[in-house]
C-alpha cells in the first residue's frame, strides 16, 4: 500500500513541479497546490498505513492509527490554505493593477 501511495505522491510532485516551472501565474498557483497535496499525503504515508481504528478512544479498538501525523497534516493544511488564499489574491491584484499574468513578462527594469 505504501508503495502505491508513494508512486501517487511522486506523480503529484512531478506534475506540481512541471506546473510551477510554467509561465502563467495561475498554473504556478495550481502547481503549488498539487505539491502541497503531495506533501500532506507524504506525511500520512511516512507515518505508516497499518490498519487500525480511527484515533477516537470511544472506538475501544485493539489498535489505533498514529494520531500525531493527522494533527501535523491538519496544521499544515490550514497554513497552506491561508498562504494559497493570499497567493490567489496577490495574483488577482497583480493582474488587475499591473496586467500581469505572464511571469516572463514581469522582468524588466526597476521602476
Amino acid at each position: 500500500m505504501e508503495l502505491l501511495i508513494a508512486l501517487a505522491i511522486g506523480v503529484l510532485f512531478t506534475v506540481g513541479v512541471y506546473l510551477v516551472l510554467s509561465k502563467s501565474l495561475l498554473r504556478i498557483l495550481l502547481g503549488t497546490t498539487l505539491i502541497t497535496h503531495g506533501v500532506h499525503l507524504l506525511l500520512l504515508t511516512m507515518a505508516g498505513l497499518k490498519t487500525g481504528a480511527s484515533p477516537l478512544l470511544g472506538e475501544k479498538a485493539e489498535s489505533y492509527v498514529d494520531p500525531l501525523p493527522q494533527a501535523l497534516i491538519l496544521t499544515s493544511i490550514v497554513i497552506s490554505f491561508g498562504v494559497s488564499a493570499f497567493f490567489i489574491v496577490l495574483a488577482y491584484r497583480a493582474y488587475r493593477s499591473a496586467g500581469m499574468d505572464d511571469v516572463e513578462g514581469s522582468k524588466g527594469e526597476r521602476p
Binding site: I28, T32, V39, L43, T45, P69, L72, I79, F86, A98
Partner: protein, 492 residues
C-alpha cells in the same frame, strides 16, 4: 518560575492582537508598540541574566513532559539572539515612525510587525521541529504581508516571487519532517538527537540532513539566495531593515541548531557541503556587492556575504569557530539593521537610490556620512568595532581545522565588503552635488535612532571581553549537544 520564558512570544502576540482594534488611531498604535518593545527587552534581559547564572531554562507547555509535549528551550544561544532581535526591532520600530508613512501605518503595519516578531522569537526559542515550522510560517506570512503592503507594481511582482520560493521551501520542510518522523519517530529536538545517535547516522539520515540543509538554505540565503536581492529591494527601508537584520538570521539559526544538535554523528558529508556552500555564497555575494551601483542591491549582497561567513564558522566546527559564529551573528543583526536604516536615510536625503545620481552629501549631512563610514569599518571588522571579534574567532577556528582556502575566501570577502561600502560612501558623500539641488531634509529623529544603534555597535566592539562570557556559554552548548539534551530530557 520558568513561565517567564514564554513572555518574549506572548508580549508581541498580545500586542499584535490589541493593535488590530486601533486601526485609525496612529498615536495609540505607536504608544502601545513602544511599550511592548520596552517590556520585551526588559523580560529578555532578565532571562539572559538568569540563564547566565543557572544554565539552560526549559518550559514544558501544558506540563506534558518531553518528548510528548511541546517544549520551549532558552539556552544562551537562543536568548542572545532574541535579545539582539528585540533591540534591533525596537530601533526599527522607532525608525518606521518617521519613514513608513501614514497610509501604510493605517493598514495594520504595526500588527504585522509584531506578528513577525512572534515568529522570529518563537523560532529561536522552540525545542520542537514541527513547532519550528509553524513559527517559520508565522514569520513568513507576516513577511508576505509586510513586503506587499502598499501594493506598488514592483512590490507585487517581487512578492509573487518571494511567496513562490517560500511556499516551495515550506512544503520541502514538511516533507523533511515527514521523512525524519518516519526514520526516528519523534519531533522533539533533544529526543531526535538522542534517537539519531542511537540509530547511527546512516544513509537515510544523511539524506534527510541534506534536505533540511536545502530548506534552511533557501530561507537563509545560503548559496540558494537567487530570490533575495530582488525581493529585499521591493519594500520600504524600514521593512527592508527588518528583513535584512532578522529573517535570514532565523534560517541561519535553524541551520546552526540542526547541525550542532541533530546531525552531528557524520559530519564528513554535511559539514563539507556547508563549507562549500559558504564559500560559494561569499564569492557570489562579493561579486554582486561589487557589481551593482544602487544602494538596495549593494546592501542585499552584503547580507548574503555575511550569511556565508556565519555558515563558514559552523562548517569549521571548532569551539573557537562556533563562538565566533555566535558573536558574528549578534554583530551582524545590529550592523545590518543600522546599515539599512542609514541606507534608507541616504535614499530619503538624496531622493534616489542610484549612486550615479548622488554626490557631495557630506556638506549637508556630515553626521550621516561619518556614521556610515564607521559602520562600514565595523562591518569589515576593524579592531575596536563589533565585527572584529567574531571574524577573528572564526578565522582562527578555521585555521585550527585546517581550512586555509576557506579562511582566505572569508578574508577576501571582507575586502569586497569594504570596497562595496566605501564605494557607496565615496559616491554618495564625496564629489560634487549633481545639478538638481534638493533642499536639505530634516532627518533628526531617524538619525538619533541610527546613532543609538551605532553606539551599540561600538560598545559591542569595545565590550567584547565581558560579552564573550555570554557568547562562550552559547558556544559551549553548540559544541556539546549533551548539555542541551540533558536540560530538556532530565528535568522533573
Amino acid at each position: 518560575m520558568n513561565n517567564i520564558l514564554v513572555l518574549p512570544i506572548l508580549i508581541p502576540l498580545s500586542t499584535a492582537v490589541i493593535l488590530i482594534f486601533f486601526k485609525d488611531k496612529l498615536r495609540h498604535q505607536r504608544g502601545i508598540s513602544v511599550v511592548s518593545g520596552l517590556l520585551t527587552m526588559l523580560v529578555i534581559i532578565l532571562l539572559v541574566t538568569r540563564v547566565h547564572a543557572d544554565g539552560i531554562l526549559t518550559l514544558q507547555m501544558g506540563g506534558w513532559a518531553p518528548p510528548y509535549g511541546i517544549i520551549f528551550v532558552g539556552d544562551m544561544f537562543a536568548l542572545l539572539l532574541v535579545m539582539t532581535a528585540s533591540l534591533v526591532s525596537f530601533a526599527i520600530l522607532l525608525y518606521s515612525f518617521s519613514s513608513i508613512g501614514e497610509k501604510r501605518e493605517k493598514y495594520y503595519y504595526y500588527t504585522f510587525f509584531h506578528f513577525l516578531l512572534v515568529g522570529v522569537y518563537g523560532s529561536f526559542l522552540t525545542g520542537d521541529i514541527f513547532n519550528l515550522f509553524v513559527f517559520f510560517e508565522v514569520m513568513l506570512i507576516s513577511s508576505y504581508a509586510l513586503i506587499s503592503l502598499g501594493g506598488t507594481k514592483l512590490q507585487l511582482r517581487e512578492t509573487a516571487k518571494y511567496l513562490l520560493i517560500n511556499i516551495v521551501s515550506s512544503t520541502l520542510f514538511v516533507a523533511a519532517v515527514a521523512y525524519l518522523y518516519a526514520a526516528v519517530g519523534t519531533l522533539n529536538m533533544a529526543h531526535l538527537s538522542q534517537r539519531i545517535t542511537e540509530a547511527g547516522q546512516g544513509g537515510v539520515i544523511n539524506v534527510i540532513a541534506v534536505l533540511f540543509l536545502i530548506v534552511f538554505s533557501l530561507k537563509a540565503g545560503l548559496f540558494l539566495f537567487f530570490w533575495l536581492p530582488g525581493s529585499y529591494s521591493a519594500p520600504p527601508p524600514a521593512i527592508r531593515a527588518l528583513f535584512g537584520a532578522l529573517l535570514t538570521k532565523v534560517g541561519l539559526y535553524a541551520i546552526i541548531r540542526t547541525f550542532t544538535l541533530l546531525f552531528v554523528n557524520d559530519t564528513e558529508l554535511t559539514h563539507n557541503l556547508i563549507a562549500w556552500m559558504a564559500a560559494a555564497t561569499m564569492i557570489l555575494g562579493s561579486l554582486g556587492a561589487v557589481a551593482y551601483k544602487d544602494i538596495p542591491r549593494i546592501f542585499n549582497y552584503n547580507v548574503i556575504i555575511s550569511v556565508g561567513f556565519v555558515a563558514f564558522g559552523l562548517a569549521a566546527g571548532t569551539q573557537d569557530a562556533l563562538d565566533g559564529a555566535v558573536f558574528y551573528l549578534l554583530h551582524d543583526m545590529l550592523a545590518k539593521a543600522l546599515m539599512f536604516i542609514l541606507g534608507g536615510l541616504i535614499i530619503t536625503a538624496a531622493g534616489t537610490d542610484q549612486l550615479s545620481a548622488m554626490g557631495g552629501m557630506i556638506k549637508k549631512y556630515p553626521l550621516l556620512g561619518w556614521m556610515f563610514f564607521i559602520l562600514a569599518l565595523a562591518l569589515v571588522g576593524i579592531p575596536p568595532l563589533s565585527g572584529f571579534a567574531g571574524k577573528l574567532l572564526i578565522i582562527r577556528g578555521a585555521l585550527d581545522a585546517g581550512m586555509l582556502t576557506l579562511a582566505l575566501v572569508g578574508l577576501g570577502s571582507s575586502f569586497m565588503v569594504l570596497y562595496s561600502l566605501i564605494k557607496v560612501f565615496r559616491l554618495a558623500f564625496w564629489g560634487n552635488e549633481p545639478g538638481n539641488k534638493r533642499p536639505a531634509v530634516s532627518l533628526k529623529g531617524a538619525t538619533a535612532v541610527a546613532a543609538g544603534l551605532l553606539v551599540l555597535v561600538i560598545a559591542m566592539g569595545i565590550g567584547a571581553d565581558p560579552l564573550y562570557a555570554f557568547v562562550s556559554q552559547a558556544g559551549d552548548v553548540l559544541a556539546s549537544p549533551a548539555e542541551y539534551i540533558q536540560a530538556v530530557m532530565m528535568k522533573e
